[in-house]
Amino acid sequence: MDKRAVFRSWWLPTAFALPQLALIALFFYWPAVAVVRWAFTLEPPFGGSAEFVGLANFRDVFADPLYWNSVVVSLTFALAGTLSTIFIGLVLALAVDRQLPGSGAVRFLYILPYAIAGPAAGMAFRFILSPERGLMASVNSAFPDFWNPAKYGSHALILVIVVFAWKWAGYTFIFLLAGLQSVPKSLTEAAAMDGSGPVRRAIDIQIPMLAPTLFFLTVIMMTEGFVGADTYGIVARTTDGGPNHGTDVMVYRIVEEAFRGLNYSGASAQSIVLIGLIMIFTFIQFRFVERRVHYK
């Protein structure tokens, strides 16, 4: 029997929970319900009565080639972002886990970027990787247009993925390091006795033992890449969705359409599609990937 304190009256616990419930209702449920309502109506941008239009908003969204472009961009961004953050975080964690002299300070430095806001990092990278003045300027002077995110959509997409990876690698690093440190030391020692070098040990022993952490991070990073506030912030401050919609990720498109284009209904319909996509992805991950994860 677990003992727990039980309130005798019903109103006291309700009063305690009320502020939190009010906040959730105000900032979560109300907007969510509004989005669903707007998705099926034509919402006048400057107020007034809305007209029910059924699935017309969705038909418009799916008929727009720019929408499908943003789906592809978002997929690319989320996949590349997830893979690169996890890969970088893993390499850093494996290195720090060896506990060579100075690893404590280095560990702190690796986590630091996570504390910087995405838009700020985006601004910084606009300068760092600016084609005229940044790190790539000397390469550009030898090979003109080798790197120009202002001109080529693919370069711009690489740029925002770099910013995303730079910031979020610190996040995956924390989890992966914690995961590595919970792998019994005797396992890697046994592998060392079995003749396995550091890289081989990482691949054969440590990474399989990290499977639960890797799975968790895949789900989290995919979601972050698709709908994360940072994804919007980075794109908005670094490339503004351009050039020519080259970095027009779904969240950016939704915010732009709603608040710059004042098309609340179209943006709401896109939001609902995006939520559906996230649910499908997460379902696939749990259904097919998690089976191969060993938790013991």
Partner: protein
């Protein structure tokens, strides 16, 4: 087959030294047991041989080759860990065959050798299981198979039996011994369990606080402990020890108000010295009150085959192992007889054994190891 030489090996972590100059030599094919209380540095020494710890000072030589700078895989050692350290995501077969896989042995040969090794340790039917689906004893066997398959020159065991229950421990102990006879590799076995140490060892190394206290055959160490530490660490219950001063004129050792008869040779050799006297519980005899030295029974432990009397003797409690036909109860006044020939003498200051025979040539306090064996 490999011999191991350890020369002036030291280990320190920062400023704390845990091993203070260890010198040992293990012959090829020998079964060496390193015994000591926890924290004495025995596991550290084993891990230094394995290559899992850096060597702060001194040299370790395996088969005539100094291995200080070699990676674990280059030293030709295999190790069985205390918690087995099985790879949880691999099957038993993959666990056993991992070393071969790393070494690039072709798959067919690998499979044959895994099957053969699994048969040696009696795991033939479990090859496709994961370690989580095995019992403690089976996991232990997998860990041994993983070491055997590499055909190493040196087997290292780091307290491999301490996670098993008592019955299984006895079985596995016997199996390890049999395996050693079959493979005839040099084995170094670390334990804090004196029964394991006595039963397994060809050569026993007793360690304490980063020093080697004594090296020798198990029985030799039992009968001629080199220090009070070894005397009290080996044997159950441990040897009774008491401070005493040798009184040559009366041929006794005086401990508080008690006078313990000693041999005249000892009295002459150690006249007036402050010593520590020791006697094993098995050598103490219980005699009727009035005879021997007076003692009062504190409590009695029944062992079935005999009993152990704990009796207040002066200000300390003495243990005496007695046969079943002597009946005593708590509170009884009894006499304790301590045969002078069975007394061990240690220097009070250093705790080292005083072997009067060797230093003076007149006095032999205990039987020779050769007779004992």
């Amino acid at each position: 087959m490999a011999d191991i030489t350890i020369r002036a090996v030291r280990k320190s972590y920062g400023k704390t030294a845990t091993l203070h100059g260890i010198d040992l030599a293990f012959a090829s094919g020998e079964f060496v047991v390193i015994l000591g209380p926890s924290g004495c540095g025995k596991s550290t020494l084993l891990r230094m041989i394995a290559g899992l710890e850096d060597i702060t000072g001194g040299e370790i030589e395996i088969n005539g080759r100094v291995v200080n700078k070699l990676e674990p895989r280059e030293r030709g050692c295999a190790m069985v860990f205390q918690n087995y350290a099985l790879y949880p995501h691999m099957t038993v077969a993959d666990n056993i065959g991992y070393a071969l896989k790393v070494a690039g042995v072709p798959k067919a040969e690998r499979r044959a050798r895994i099957a053969e090794t699994a048969k040696i340790v009696g795991l033939g039917d479990y090859l496709e299981r994961k370690p989580a689906a095995l019992s403690g004893g089976q996991r232990q066997r997998v860990a041994m198979a993983r070491a055997i398959i590499r055909e190493p020159g040196v087997f290292l065991f780091d307290e491999p039996l301490s996670n098993l229950d008592a019955t299984l421990r006895v079985t596995m102990r016997a199996e390890i011994r049999k395996l050693h006879q079959r493979l005839s590799a040099t084995s170094v076995f670390v334990t804090h369990d004196q029964v394991e140490a006595m039963t397994l060892a060809d050569k026993l190394v007793v360690m304490n606080k980063g020093h080697v206290e004594q090296v020798g055959q198990p029985l030799d160490i039992y009968h001629r402990p080199a220090s009070t530490f070894v005397a009290s660490f080996i044997g159950a219950p441990p040897m009774n020890l008491m401070d005493a001063r040798i009184d040559a004129s009366a041929t006794v050792a005086r401990h508080e108000h008690l006078a313990i008869p000693i041999s005249s040779a000892m009295a002459a050799a150690l006249a007036g010295r402050d010593v520590t006297l020791g006697i094993r519980p098995e050598e103490c005899r219980v005699v009727p009150a009035g005879e021997g030295l007076p003692a009062r029974v504190d409590f009695v432990e029944e062992l079935g085959s005999g009993r152990i009397v704990h009796a207040a003797f002066g200000s300390r409690i003495f243990a005496a192992a007695i046969p079943l036909d002597i009946r005593v109860a708590s509170g009884d006044l009894i006499g304790l007889a301590l045969p002078p020939a069975q007394l061990h003498v240690f220097d009070r200051e250093t705790g080292r054994r005083l072997d009067v025979t060797h230093s003076i040539g007149r006095y032999e306090p205990v039987r020779q190891a050769a007779e004992a064996v």
